[in-house]
């Protein structure tokens, strides 16, 4: 029978209408000493306002440099059951589709080797298994491999690529996100398991500009579905929205960031100047029965986003405005550019410098020249704000 700890502060977190992680840890604690001690340490940290975890180290599985995050408690004598409390990141299936059997297998393995606590899913998208000892890492890895799961990324490597559900469930998907995510995961197996970069590198695949995986805000390379022909308009459905009381002028036309739409109240027709459209999806989200993305679909490749860890947050910039994703040759060309970028980043990047920070440091123009990509207007994130413009010698002569 696990030792019973008093946890008044944690008990408070169970109150209210929302699901509580405390309830789940308590549930696990009934059969698991690790989860039980975890409750006690958490309560103690709330009392003392001190975290008791040490992070990092050499723990891992044989041959891999990622997928395990070492954690030790700084008061092991008092909480021997969580003296080690390592996290394992497991590569999730593309789009997070599982069978019940697969989920049961993962949980059974984790109850056998670890605390039984999981985080489905971590912010990168991996299955996160919380709390085990160094001795249990290799057996867990072997058991997971037998049911078809592999470790994900951690440290200075390619992090586990993730994608939205894409064409599997979403009518807006402009390419097969799950297919490209899987292809990228398999191509980058070496870089995923053996860290060789200055810092982490994240790929995220979103099927449309709604960007349900928040790629543009946090991935080093975002592949965001888009289209390059006209938005498809169903005039009869536009009229139905209007007849049902929708304020198309205020809620759609005036909210368009490009102001590229006109609505005529008499004819109940919506006119779109597609040359100015920014593919933001706002109008399509507002009138999904009347508007749809065009037929010439593909993806925009963006580079350089990151969440604030060492430096501040960065949003990504356009690298390739349009790529036909079902065209294998175009995809190959994109993979070649990725390799070129990673080579230059490895050569010139500083320790713990994300690719977005590297681009900021060397300048987008120098970066593009180094990777052999022609600059184009779509890459301009905002107009320059200094008056000094430098031309190359040959441009001056022209």
């Amino acid at each position: 029978m696990p030792k019973e700890y008093k946890t008044p502060k944690l008990d408070d977190l169970e109150k209210g209408p929302w699901p509580s992680f405390v309830k789940e840890i308590k549930q696990a604690a009934k059969n698991n000493e690790m989860s039980n001690d975890l409750l006690a340490v958490l309560e103690r940290s709330y009392d003392e306002r001190i975290g008791h975890w040490k992070h990092g180290g050499i723990v891992g599985v044989m041959g891999y440099g990622g997928g395990v995050i070492g954690r030790y408690i700084d008061i092991p004598d008092e909480y021997p059951n969580i003296s080690h409390f390592h996290t394992m990141r497991i590569n999730q299936p593309a789009g997070w589709f599982y069978t019940s059997e697969a989920l049961r297998s993962i949980c059974d393995i984790w109850e056998k080797h670890g605390s039984g606590l999981t985080n489905m899913h971590g912010s990168t998208g991996d299955i996160v298994l919380l709390g085990t000892t160094t001795d249990e890492l290799e057996p867990t890895f072997q058991d997971l491999a037998h049911v078809g799961f592999d470790l994900g990324g951690s440290g200075s490597d390619v992090r586990t690529p993730s994608c939205c559900v894409g064409e599997a469930r979403c009518e807006w998907a402009c390419y097969d996100t799950m297919g490209v995510c899987y292809e990228t995961t398999m191509r980058y197996q070496d870089e995923l398991h053996r860290p060789a970069f200055p810092y982490k590198w994240k790929f995220k695949f979103a099927g449309c500009p709604n960007d349900c995986v928040a790629a543009k805000a946090r991935a080093d390379i975002s592949v965001v579905g888009t289209w390059r022909d006209a938005i498809k308009v169903d005039d009869a459905e536009v009229a139905t929205y209007y007849d049902n009381g929708m304020d198309i002028f205020n809620d759609v036309v005036l909210n368009c960031p490009a102001r590229c739409m006109k609505f005529d109240h008499e004819s109940k027709k919506l006119e779109i100047n597609n040359a100015d459209c920014r593919r933001c999806m706002h109008c399509i989200n507002a009138m999904p029965k009347a508007l749809r993305p065009g037929d010439d679909k593909g993806a925009t490749i963006l580079i350089g986003a990151k969440a604030p860890i060492i430096e501040g947050a960065l949003l990504s910039s356009v690298l390739i405005p349009f790529l036909k994703m079902e065209d294998e040759e175009e995809r190959e060309a994109w993979y070649d550019i990725m390799e070129e970028i990673q080579d230059i980043w490895c050569e010139e990047g500083k320790n713990r410098e994300r690719i977005g920070e590297f681009i900021q440091r060397v300048g987008m123009a120098n970066f593009l020249e180094a990777v052999g990509v022609e600059p184009i207007p779509e890459m301009v994130a905002y107009p320059r704000d200094n008056p000094y413009i430098f031309f190359e010698q040959d441009e001056e002569e022209e």
Binding site: I58, M62, G63, G66, I69, S156, R194, P195
Partner: protein, 83 residues
């Protein structure tokens, strides 16, 4: 004369061991740059270094560590570890 993958792996092992003696940690990327710079004329390139690192880690002679970034080190009992 061209160097083999095993020879470069040996050089890498020595470089990591020497660095560790003076309390320095080497990143795989730094180790690769160091080797390519020293032995480029003998046919050593990034690809060969990558394969050599894989061999060293797969054999357990070197291990990956994480301290705010990923490093290569000789296996040792880490300071943070609880018995």
């Amino acid at each position: 004369m061209a160097m083999t993958k095993d020879q470069i792996a040996e050089e890498m092992y020595k470089a990591v061991a020497e660095a560790q003696e003076v309390g320095k940690k080497l990143k795989p990327m730094d180790l690769t740059k160091q080797m390519v710079k020293a032995y480029e004329d003998e046919g050593v390139d990034k690809k060969m270094c990558k394969a050599a690192i894989k061999d060293l880690v797969d054999s357990g002679r070197l291990v990956y560590t994480y301290f705010g970034g990923s490093f290569l080190e000789l296996p040792h009992k880490e300071g943070a570890s609880n018995d």
